[in-house]
């Protein structure tokens, strides 16, 4: 290969791309210390629409080459030779003909898609069959993420927290996809509510202490869940979170009298899933006791939290997620609940994950706490350590 600079490339484009005899100096992308980044740069291209090819069709078997002018090096099936277009169309028809009759076949399509064609953008929805509803929903667009970041920045949240939140969000979504990939295919699970992911226009709450930043809940959120089956469960996935803490730590919770009502909720069992929430929770180590606490006798109650000390009214939000407020079991003897920003009023309730209800259905997580004297809920102020882990009974919840 001659070492002269390629004149065509200098002027805009060269038809030969990588095969060119002359030199194409490539521009490098600046390294960014921030950003959740792209660990895998696979197929990060904008020039591979399905079925489109380049004239003359190059058949390189390197799917990750994406920056060569005129070079369409991506192939759906790398093992194919020069019959790339027929091979592609063969594969194309196989997927185009896909009917969701056999979950195993669906699974294969999904596995192939998620192996070969994951977009760079992780906060996406996904459907394995075109024209069908999403199998994984709850997508977030670049602009929405950006708007959130700008909003938080305006409220004085430090950059590091913003980046961390974004990273957590991405990790959660990636974990959701992993879980979806691993579980048997059960058919598209359509979300019965949509994520309410950006701060309301009239934001009245100051940012919680400790730089805890994520999405804010819309006060209007309950209205979007009209007519659904069951209580709105925006943190459906989040419910798996207590599992991470409670299952493995059989320490007894502080005891109290019985009489607590149980509020079943549907939690996913996926052992892998809760680990996804570890990062999202871990950035608040101060708020959780050193020893994660879970009562040994589980009832079907999710861990929850009541109003924080100093708050006389229960959070409005309690009507939104009656039983699904996600918290790892915290040691109620711990003296740091004031730092627990969950206890701040509704609109600043934050969740690191975009809500989606695509949990594998039909599974329950047993979580909960020891029985509690319901009169505790009649108090207006609580001393640290007094608030039970369990959600208050419906009778105490303002609706």
């Amino acid at each position: 290969m001659r070492k002269e600079l390629c004149r065509n490339f200098q002027q805009g484009s060269c038809r030969y791309g990588e095969r060119c005899r002359y030199l194409h100096p490539q521009q490098t992308k600046p390294n960014n210390p921030f950003g959740f980044g792209t660990q895998q740069q696979q197929n990060k291209t904008s020039n591979n629409p399905f079925g489109f090819g380049v004239q003359g069709g190059s058949n390189s078997n390197r799917p990750n080459q994406s920056q060569q002018p005129f070079q369409n090096t991506w192939q759906r099936n790398p093992s194919s030779g020069s019959g790339a277009s027929t091979q592609q169309s063969g594969k194309q028809t196989q997927q185009a003909d896909h009917k969701c009759t056999d979950p195993a076949a669906c699974k294969r399509v999904i596995q192939e898609d998620l192996k070969n064609e994951r977009p760079m953008w992780k906060l996406t929805c996904y459907a394995h069959c075109k024209h069908l509803p999403c199998d994984v929903s709850g997508d977030v667009s670049y602009e929405e993420l950006r708007a959130m970041a700008y909003e938080e920045s305006k409220r004085g949240i430090p950059l590091q927290s913003i980046v961390e939140r974004e990273r957590n969000l991405q990790n959660a979504k990636v974990a959701e996809f992993e879980n979806f990939l691993r579980s048997p295919y059960r058919g598209a699970v359509t979300a019965n509510q949509t994520p309410s992911i950006f701060p309301p226009a009239t934001q009245v709450n100051s940012s919680p202490p400790g730089g805890f930043s994520a999405f804010n809940q819309q006060p209007a959120f309950p209205n979007t869940n009209a007519g659904g089956g069951g209580p709105p469960n925006p943190f459906g996935r989040f419910n798996q979170q207590p599992n991470a803490f409670s299952v493995n730590t059989p320490q007894p919770a502080p005891s109290g009298p019985s009489g607590f009502q149980s509020q079943p909720s549907s939690f996913g069992p996926g052992p892998a899933a809760p680990s996804a929430f570890q990062p999202s929770v871990s950035f608040k180590p101060a708020s959780f006791g050193p020893g994660p606490v879970a009562p040994s006798g589980f009832q079907s109650q999710p861990a929850s939290f009541g109003p924080g000390p100093g708050l006389s009214t229960p959070p409005q939000n309690s009507s939104i997620f009656p039983s699904v407020t996600p918290t790892p079991a915290f040691n109620s003897n711990q003296n740091n609940q004031t730092g627990f920003s969950f206890n701040s009023p509704v609109a600043s309730f934050t969740s690191p994950a975009v809500d989606t209800t695509n949990t594998p259905s039909g599974t329950e997580l047993q979580a909960g706490g020891a029985p509690v004297d319901t009169s505790i809920w009649l108090k207006e102020k609580w001393n640290p350590g007094e608030i039970p882990e369990q959600a208050p009974p419906d009778a105490f919840v303002h609706r």
Partner: protein, 317 residues
């Protein structure tokens, strides 16, 4: 936080002076002149005269401006994160608020056929506005139409409106009867929808997704069999490349040299001679340091965009 300053090759086009100081959300050429309207995350809408490379007007809004469009050469519309829908009058520097959504407004289009402004928002509605009503929202809002999800992109052609939302939903409306969509579809792409654009000939639309694909769709499914007249179109991606495609032959015709940053927006001029390229980080990797924003306007050579005659397959090697 050291950035490599990468200079684009001279062929990238003429770089406009006074670009926005933060991300470019959209840019549009006027239908009647070589004026370019640019909306930005720096909360401003700017009007440029490309032929003289000068800034003709600037409007400051209450939040990031997420979209803009022309009405005529003297006025346009802009929408953004402050949830407002505005008309801006260029020469006078005046602006009116037509109304509001409940959440940031992501898209705006002006329909000459209906004489209405159409907006799409993350509040999951599409609203239509009559710009002639200068006073409050009650007077200007013509209708509000609930979508299945947050609106990500809109496109108009003739009497048709295509709405693309989160969750891969697509609603197609006839503007003459907005009471319900003419068609409800899911995207034929598997991942999140990025953008929808109708064909100028009104037979269908192109959808793009975050996986880097473009799907060509027809309004009338019976026409799909004829599969003609896709025409050529340009796509810009987060890789910094602009590609020109022949939809009919399903081939890439041309690729321009890499731009310094993601391609945030593209617009052809009314005669197709110019292509405005917004090189501006689009947040696909979240919050991070990035190249400064730039707008390039390049000449479009016919050879770059004209469909080629059908290529015969290469003989087997």
């Amino acid at each position: 936080m050291i950035k490599n300053m990468s200079l684009p090759p001279p062929s990238a086009g003429r770089e406009l002076a006074n670009p926005p100081s933060d991300g470019i959300s959209n840019l549009r050429f006027s239908n009647t002149s070589d004026h370019l309207l640019v909306s930005s995350w720096d909360k401003r809408v700017r009007l440029y005269d490309v032929s003289t490379n000068s800034l003709k007007g600037e409007f400051l809004h209450g939040g990031a401006v997420l979209d803009c469009c022309f009405h005529d050469d003297s006025s346009g519309f802009s929408v953004g994160s402050d949830n407002k829908v505005r008309r801006i009058v260029f020469n006078v520097g005046k602006e009116d608020v037509l109304g509001m959504h409940e959440k940031p407004v992501r898209c705006v289009e002006y329909s000459y056929a209906a004489g209405q402004v159409i907006t799409g928002s993350w509040d999951k509605t599409v609203k239509c506005w009559d710009p002639r009503g200068a006073s409050g929202p009650e007077r200007t809002q013509v209708g509000t139409y609930l979508q299945p999800e947050r609106v990500y992109s809109l496109s108009l052609v003739g009497n048709r409106l295509v709405v693309a939302t989160a969750g891969r939903h697509v609603n197609i409306y006839d503007l003459r009867n907005m009471s319900q969509p003419e068609q409800r579809r899911e995207s034929s792409l598997k991942y999140q929808t990025r953008c929808v654009r109708s064909y100028p000939n009104g037979t269908g639309y192109a959808l793009s997704s975050v996986e880097g694909r473009v799907a060509m769709e027809f309004f009338d499914l019976s026409e799909a069999a004829q599969a003609k007249n896709y025409g050529t179109f340009a796509t810009g991606g987060c890789d910094g490349f602009v590609n020109i495609w022949d939809g009919n032959n399903k081939k890439r015709l041309y690729q321009y040299s890499k731009y310094p940053s993601s391609i945030a927006a593209l617009s052809f001029s009314r005669d197709g001679q110019l292509l405005a390229v917004a090189s501006s980080y689009t947040f696909e990797e979240g919050e991070k340091s990035h190249e400064p924003e730039a707008i390039f306007v390049r000449n479009v050579n016919e050879i770059e965009v004209k469909p080629k005659p059908k290529a015969y397959p290469n003989p087997a090697a």
